[in-house]
């Protein structure tokens, strides 16, 4: 059974249809990369999975359990589905350690000391234990994004959604963030990531999905999508990426 199943998912913003009957499965320990032109619904799709946006048609299942529609405890769902945003969205009035421990303490009712110890272990892994008492505005973009990933990991999610997490970073800061994702992939973390880093997608993805027209237009292993895409739209998209020097 797939960990995440999306069945005929439809999503509109007013008159604007973003997703129209999208189907996608993510198995446990898989790293699924979503690629596609901007505005094709990559971010929206991720936001729908952890309930930040409601869908209008179809359903999303987590471990076979339907998590869309009325009656679903979204707060409980979000404990298991972590998300990291393009713009980090750290809480600027809290220090790094407070950012990381807020949810474990308030949502999981973890003891403060225990939560801080755990947070320090996580921060040590990303090499930011010295910044634990600093405020986010004093960190570089790459450091902030690493903290944001740590904040999501502190909840021990079953699946991690990464929404173009390197798009807002200076080029030389991208690798420090991607290295973390690489490590997580090696450890078997289930991840679904929207990305423009095609080289990275090619390296870590178990499956690449090309989103176009509100559906998964083409999907397959990275070698196939990047090497020999069968759809015309996919080829056109990748050609533009290559012309921009990004692949």
């Amino acid at each position: 059974m797939p960990l995440v199943e999306m069945i005929d998912v439809g999503k509109q913003f007013g008159a604007h249809t973003v997703l129209k009957g999208l189907n996608l499965n993510v198995d446990e320990h898989q790293v699924v990369c979503l690629i596609g032109p901007s505005g094709c619904g990559k971010s929206t799709l991720l936001r729908c999975i952890n309930g930040l946006e409601a869908i209008q048609a179809g359903e999303i299942r987590l471990h076979g359990d339907r998590v869309t529609g009325p009656g679903v405890d979204l707060n409980r769902l979000r404990r298991d589905v972590g998300i990291v945003f393009q713009s980090f969205n750290l809480f600027p009035h809290m220090s790094v350690i407070e950012n990381v421990t807020l949810a474990p303490i308030r949502v999981l009712r973890m003891d403060r000391r225990e939560a801080e110890e755990k947070a320090m272990t996580l921060l040590k892994r990303i090499g930011l234990e010295q910044k634990a008492r600093e405020y986010p505005d004093r960190l570089s973009g790459g450091q902030q994004q690493r903290v944001a990933i740590t904040r999501a990991l502190a909840m021990e999610p079953m699946v991690l959604l990464l929404d173009e997490i390197t798009s807002a970073l200076d080029p030389e800061l991208v690798s420090e963030v991607l290295n973390i994702v690489r490590d997580l992939a090696k450890e078997g973390m289930t991840m679904l990531l929207a990305t423009h880093e095609m080289g990275f997608a090619r390296e870590v993805a178990s499956k690449v999905c090309f989103l176009y027209g509100g559906i998964v237009h083409e999907e397959g292993p990275p070698e196939k999508i990047f090497g020999a895409p069968s759809e015309e739209r996919t080829r056109a998209f990748l050609k533009r990426i290559i012309e921009a020097g990004r692949l």
């Binding site: 979000r78 945003f85 009035h93 807020l102 949810a103 999501a152």
Partner: protein, 366 residues
């Protein structure tokens, strides 16, 4: 390169203007101000002698003012000197030196004008006080009377302090509650949102004096169980809390809405509930942003404590009015005015400090 459009003359190094006339003008203004200030000082001392007022500190203050304004001559003389040097440099053909000296001369001229203007304003105020046979001074600043009645007024001012401090604490809590009620999400929250909106509309429009009047006289008259036994200042606290709660609720609401939705998204995505998100993420950030407008409203509230005299509470204004009626002199009321000002100024400075420190702590480059 082709001749024409690209081959332009360099226009920047202009011939500097001669600052001599401006400098002499400054010299004249400085001298005139100094003369005027000594004349006023002399006049004021004469008036004091006539009315046999002997307050050493005022006397010294006047003399000091005369001396300080005399210093005005210095920048104007300096301007003339430097203007001379600028002129010499221009004659010698040293454009750069002429420009530098000219700029210096002009800057000294501006010093003279600026300070002279300020001095003239002070002189005008001094003259206003002694105008019409010192009637302004006697009406508003009868110093002996102010000194003798200071104690009872200060004691009564405690009532104002007490009312505003309690009201401020209540307003902080009540305003936040109303703001959160106004921002309740979803359809089920609609009736509560509407009531909260109605409340803010009503009490922002209702003049504070009327609210105090209605609550202060109305609650006891209506015989409402606990309210009818409350002392007048407490009734005033209720009235002011209702009025300023409406203002502050709007300030809170603006602050909460100014927090970017991505903060809410981040908090909710971690599993925090709506109320937890408000409590730990949105409101703490909003409060930091609204401190300056909040202080504005609090200063308004502090000043409006003077309105409680309409229900007969014995505050500083009421006390001073009694003294004023007895002596037929407004000076005690001036005392109250000064007390209010002295009470608010440190708060403003304190809040500025607080915000500065907060900014240094959380923001980059500190």
């Amino acid at each position: 390169m082709e001749e024409g459009a690209r081959n332009r003359q360099w226009r920047a190094p202009s011939i500097p203007e001669d600052p001599s006339r401006l400098a002499w003008g400054a010299c004249f203004v400085g001298a005139a101000t100094v003369a005027a200030s000594w004349w006023v000082v002399d006049h004021l001392r004469g008036v004091m002698a006539v009315y046999d007022v002997q307050i050493a500190s005022v006397d010294i203050g006047l003399l000091l003012f005369g001396v300080v304004t005399s210093v005005l001559l210095w920048p104007s003389v300096k301007a003339v000197q430097i203007a001379g040097r600028a002129r010499a440099a221009a004659v010698a053909g040293d454009v750069v030196a002429a420009r530098v000296q000219g700029a210096a001369a002009r800057s000294w001229c501006l010093y003279t004008f600026g300070y002279a203007f300020a001095a003239v304003l002070c002189l005008a105020i001094g003259l206003f006080i002694v105008a019409n046979d010192v009637s302004v001074g006697r009406t508003f600043f009868n110093l002996p009377l102010m000194r003798d009645t200071f104690r009872p007024i200060l004691k009564a001012f405690w009532t104002n302090v007490y009312i505003c401090v309690i009201a401020e604490v209540l307003v902080l809590v009540w305003g936040l509650a109303v703001a959160i009620a106004r921002l309740l999400p979803g359809r089920p929250g609609q009736p509560i949102r509407m009531i909260a909106t109605l409340y803010t509309d009503a009490f922002r429009g209702l003049p504070a004096i009327i609210s105090i009047f209605l609550v202060g006289f109305g609650l006891p008259l209506a015989g409402i169980p606990i309210a009818k036994d409350l002392p007048l200042p407490m009734l005033a606290v209720i009235a002011l809390t209702l009025t300023y709660g409406a203002y502050v609720a709007e300030v809170y609401r603006a602050g909460i809405q100014s927090i970017h939705w991505s903060q809410t998204a981040a908090a909710r995505s971690l599993g925090l509930s709506y109320m937890q998100t408000m409590r730990f993420v949105v409101v703490p950030q909003a409060v930091r942003r609204i401190i300056p407008p909040l202080l504005n409203d609090f200063i308004g509230l502090q000043k409006d404590t003077a309105l409680v005299n309409v229900i007969g509470a014995m505050d500083a204004f009421n006390q001073s009015k009694i003294i004023e009626a007895n002596h037929f002199n407004l000076s005690p009321v001036t005392t109250v005015g000064i007390l209010f000002v002295i009470f608010t100024v440190p708060q403003t400075r304190f809040v500025d400090r607080l915000l500065e420190r907060e900014q240094r702590r959380t923001q980059a480059g500190g």
